[in-house]
């Protein structure tokens, strides 16, 4: 018996989801990362509900997206505009598109208590390569998933970069 297992468990913020659901949600996050890393942006957009919010706060622990700036605070329409912009022949900061690897880890799936809704916490390690330069980012991520019919969709995604408040060169890719 290891010493670790005898430690008292930290109280969970919300009860963990059932194992099968948790596995499903985890695979869903991996699928999102795969679509972004393979430039399948239309399929990526399809993972989101029409009323989705995609949020990359500017400040650590930022509570409010409306009265404080955000690196990105998009409704579905603005997400579509980002994807559409990439297809234009004079999308200077997006030609070539950044190549990325989204490494998703530490996935914890939590039951929200609402039928057909899950909260998924994860960490993201992202490498970006473009024009002779590689950058790395790290973030805490929270997805809120909603069951639409028998398909999970993302209705809210929040990406808290650990360096969101620092001086940053332009960001023209998705977290």
């Amino acid at each position: 018996m290891s010493a670790v297992s005898s430690l008292p468990a930290k109280p969970a913020i919300a009860p963990p989801a059932e194992e099968a659901t948790a596995r499903q949600a985890e695979r869903f996050l991996f699928q999102e990362a795969w679509l972004l890393d393979h430039s399948d942006f239309d399929a990526w957009l399809d993972l989101y509900t029409d009323d989705a919010v995609y949020w990359v706060p500017l400040e650590a622990g930022q509570a409010d997206p409306l009265n404080t700036h955000s690196l990105m605070y998009d409704d579905k329409r603005l997400m579509q505009i980002r994807v559409r912009q990439q297809t234009h022949p004079r999308a200077h900061a997006r030609l070539p598109l950044s190549r990325t690897v989204h490494q998703v880890g530490n996935v914890q799936v939590q039951d929200t208590g609402k039928v057909g809704e899950l909260t998924v916490r994860s960490t993201l390690i992202l490498f970006e390569y473009r024009k002779e330069r590689q950058r790395s980012f790290a973030a805490n991520v929270v997805h809120r998933l909603r069951l639409q019919g028998d398909v999970w969709k993302i209705c809210h995604k929040r990406v808290d970069l650990i360096n969101s408040e620092s001086e940053l060169d332009g960001i023209a890719f998705f977290f």
Binding site: L58, D75, R77, R82, Q85, H88, R90, H92, L168, D169
Partner: protein, 440 residues
């Protein structure tokens, strides 16, 4: 580094062209830090950042760390952030409130005025050290002044007053402040800090360049004009409208006004306005705001205030702001080919809270580090910097509208059309004066 003579400097700046080395030569950059950033009035921030005694924020002037603090007597102090003992920064937080600054190294303790108050084991620093303590106050920056709450400082003891330096650019600050129903504004909503591998001048040249939007921003104009397959929300309305605005037809840009004032300053006027951007969205909040403004200053005056249609105002060499959209950008040169721009939004006290949400949404698209729009500007700055390292062609042409510049009221000069490069020629005329002054 060998000194660069004023004759050499003058040869780099001609009427309608400049030598590429002004963007790419590290020796010229070092000279800019002493001759230009070391002499001009630099904007540091706004008094709302240090509203209470003891409030402070840290920033840089010509790459040197400084503290901007509100002393207990209410005065604004700008101090070099460098302990007078061994040189450590006495303050490392970006902002906060402090009764005193204590050096982390040996505990030397300074008041927010800069006065050295206490030195641990003072007797060890020499017998007469108690009398010598005033020699060891934090060094104040030579001159500090403010205009309508905007804090400026100059590293040079001599030079024109702030009011003389600003000239008619005061009217752009007036425009920003007068729009507030209470007459008060405050910085709020966080700070974007966007960086690029390019010279600091590129961003100041771009803000009043009215031909670039159609080309640099072509992709976001295109994308924002796409079919609406999902409903837009208040979150996207302003972003989409501002992105589309960059695709205005050429005659819109030709007809707007470009004015230059004083040493390198300029503003873009007669451009689109709050009414088109916000009221155009049938936003009832704007009417509520206009009523609040009218209630304080009367209908005629309110109409005057709201009929000013300015976009970017540039106060050379480190300030660019948007009076009617309440955005401020402060340019920090890092090296000849690296620049960081800090951007701020203002809240008008007494305006409906929802109006500030429009300001935030507008700032996200105009100044956001991950914005559809700004990312293309940053990309083009970097490509320009790369292009200017090429040695086969030495000259940068600034001839758009050259010969059509005409004097206007308030000692300003106006470009013949709104697409003139007059603002860049004016910046380099000022540059030449700063850089050649006082040298052989």
């Amino acid at each position: 580094m060998s000194a660069i003579s004023s004759r050499q400097i003058e040869a780099l700046i001609q009427d309608d062209r400049v030598h590429r080395s002004v963007y790419s030569d590290p020796a010229i950059f070092e000279m800019e830090m002493s001759q230009l950033f070391g002499k001009a009035w630099l904007i540091l921030g706004h008094e709302s950042q240090i509203a209470q005694p003891g409030d402070y924020f840290c920033t840089e002037m010509a790459r040197q760390p400084v503290i901007v603090a509100r002393h207990e007597d209410g005065s604004v102090k700008v101090l070099f952030n460098r302990c007078s003992h061994r040189g450590a920064m006495v303050c490392h937080e970006q902002s906060g409130n402090a009764k005193q600054f204590v050096c982390p190294y040996h505990g030397w303790t300074f008041e927010t005025s800069g006065r050295l108050r206490f030195v641990p084991i003072a007797h060890n620093y020499g017998e007469s050290f108690a009398e010598r303590m005033p020699e060891f106050n934090l060094t104040p920056v030579a001159r500090v002044d403010s205009y309508r709450g905007f804090i400026f400082a100059s590293l040079a003891a001599e030079g024109p007053s702030l009011l003389d330096f600003l000239g008619h650019m005061t009217s752009s600050f007036d425009d920003l402040v007068d729009r507030s129903p209470s007459g008060e504004i405050e910085i709020a909503g966080g700070v974007f800090k966007h960086a690029y591998n390019g010279n600091w001048k590129l961003v100041l040249e771009n803000h009043n360049d009215t031909v670039h939007p159609a080309f640099v921003h072509a992709s976001s104009v295109f994308a924002a004009g796409g079919p609406e397959t999902v409903a837009s929300t208040p979150v996207s309305d302003i972003s989409i409208r501002q992105m589309r605005q960059n695709g205005a037809p050429p005659d819109v840009w030709e007809k707007l006004g470009l004015w230059t004032a004083g040493p390198g300053h300029s503003y873009m006027g007669d451009y689109h306005d709050d009414r088109r951007l916000v009221v155009g969205l049938n936003n009832p909040v704007f009417e509520e705001y206009a009523e609040a403004l009218t209630a304080r200053i009367g209908e005629d005056r309110a109409n005057d205030v709201l009929s000013v249609h300015r976009f970017n105002s540039i106060v050379y060499p480190n300030c660019s702001f948007m009076s009617q959209f309440r955005q401020l950008r402060i340019v920090h040169p890092v090296s000849v080919d690296r620049t960081v721009v800090y951007t701020y939004s203002f809240r008008m006290k007494g305006a409906p809270p929802a109006l500030f949400q429009d300001t935030i949404a507008f700032g996200n698209v105009v100044n956001g580090t991950a914005s559809w729009v700004l990312t293309d500007d940053l990309e083009v700055y970097e490509r320009t910097q790369k292009g200017l390292t090429g040695q086969l062609s030495d000259w940068v042409y600034l001839g758009r509208g050259f010969g059509d510049d005409r004097p206007d009221e308030h000692a300003m000069v106006r470009g013949g059309t709104g697409t003139s490069e007059i603002h860049i020629r004016s910046q380099f005329a000022a540059w030449k004066n700063y850089m050649s002054a006082g040298s052989a």
